[in-house]
């Protein structure tokens, strides 16, 4: 269901109307029903139902098992099991073809004729988002930040809250989770603010992004027939097209949630007014950055392996290098994950991952030494 389609508009209006005429205690059930409809509307199949259950059931059961074993070895075992199941499915669904492509390339290099055939994977909308959100949920229970949800249907709502399934933002159980079940009264001010925000989002997507898209597509389709100025113009226009589409989607999502009464975390903060690449990424897709920082970057940097590396570097190269090497290595791993998360192809791993790491690496080296 496209966020700017009339179908989605109708779906949201019906959801909101039923939500507010339902007694507060049962409002979350309306959100759950809408979320399930949204989740399976384009893709109702036994496989996709199983895909959703493969995330929901381990999250629910292991979440409850981890409770009481926070920061213990036993808790860690349950946590790792949950991560393996959820991440395993995500990798299987999104990256099988990437692995096959790599195997084919290796075969070609080794002059082996055999080539693997690519497979079609029918994955559920939002799987990249809700898989990470539920991993975060399990990690938070393990760390003792939140208590697990006792009602599996409420857990299902946290996993599948429909506005965030297409573009985020990433939510956390300790901040957004409870708001989903609380129930809300229709508030005139939040209704107006939400509607304005939705309109802004629709304007960004339909008027700016899609108009720029016409120009970008024309140039990108026939690059050799255009002059340098047009090509540079198209590259810049594509950046703006991407930003207005993404941030417009977020505006629509935030607007809907605001009307319902659920406060979601902001995902953008004027990224193109940043002074450095590092700052730009801090202001772009903020909740993904925060998720990665809390669940991957910090634990990596604090791991015994990284600390051993730091010690070795300190002995051989001194304190400054010892600080930087684990940081760069953790950053590299994190950016490869960011690239891969955006899509199961090398273009994403290089363009959205390695290249950005390189920019930030150079920025830090230049800033430190000049």
């Amino acid at each position: 269901m496209n966020l700017t389609s009339l179908l989605f508009l109708g779906f949201v209006i019906i959801t909101i109307c039923i939500y507010f005429i339902t007694p507060k205690k049962f409002q979350w059930i309306i959100l759950l029903i809408s979320s399930v409809i949204f989740l399976f509307y384009d893709n109702l199949h036994i496989n996709t139902i199983i895909q959703a259950l493969i995330v929901l059931i381990p999250s629910y059961i292991l979440g409850r098992k981890i409770e009481g074993h926070s920061n213990t070895k036993q808790g860690k075992k349950f946590l790792i099991l949950g991560i393996i199941i959820i991440l395993g499915q995500l990798i299987y669904l999104k990256y099988t073809n990437l692995f096959l492509e790599t195997a084919n390339n290796i075969n070609t290099l080794l002059h082996i004729e055999y080539q693997f055939e690519f497979v079609q994977r029918n994955s559920l909308i939002g799987i990249s988002y809700y898989s990470l959100i539920m991993i975060g949920y399990l990690v938070d229970i393990y760390r003792g930040t939140c208590k697990p949800e006792k009602n599996i249907f409420k857990c299902a709502l946290f996993m599948s809250y429909f506005p965030i399934l297409t573009s985020g933002p990433f939510i956390r159980y300790d901040s957004v989770g409870k708001e989903l079940y609380e129930g809300h009264k229709l508030n005139y001010n939040t209704l107006c603010r939400g509607l304005v925000r939705i309109l802004w989002g629709v304007f960004k997507i339909l008027v700016i992004s899609q108009r720029l898209g016409i120009f970008v597509d024309a140039v990108y389709a026939n690059v050799y027939t255009f002059t340098f100025v047009f090509i540079i113009g198209a590259v810049l226009a594509f950046t703006m097209q991407l930003y207005t589409n993404f941030s417009g989607s977020i505006d629509i999502i935030m607007g809907i949630s605001e009307i319902i009464g659920i406060k979601l975390p902001e995902n953008f903060n004027l990224p193109f007014f940043s002074r450095t690449i590092t700052e730009l990424w801090r202001n772009w897709h903020i909740t993904l950055g925060a998720w990665l920082k809390d669940y991957i970057f910090y634990p990596l940097l604090k791991s015994d392996e990284m600390q051993d590396l730091a010690k070795e570097c300190k002995e051989k190269f001194g304190k400054k290098v010892a600080k930087k090497v684990p940081m760069y290595l953790s950053m590299l791993i994190m950016w490869i994950i960011i690239g891969a998360w955006h899509g199961g192809a090398y273009t994403f791993i290089i363009g959205s991952g390695l290249l950005q790491f390189l920019f930030m690496f150079l920025e830090d080296i230049l800033r430190t030494n000049f």
Binding site: N71, R143, T145, K293, D294, Y298, P299, K302, Q307
Partner: protein
Amino acid sequence: MSREEVFERLNKVFRDIFDDKSIMVNEETTSNDIEDWDSLEHINLIVAIEQEFGMKFNMHEVTTMKNVGEMVDIIISRIG
């Protein structure tokens, strides 16, 4: 170990990590009070403190402690 002794050893770690001999932390000191105390240095600092006191912070504590006072509370609760 008394609170004063913890602060004394903490000052040593802070001075070493931030290369600044004039640092004197107190209960209310936060990352805003020390120029180079950003999110990266925070992890280096945490690891150095763990080594100094032979204890471990969990990730929840690492990301949520608000000031040095809270840090000292956790250290004392771990080392007894």
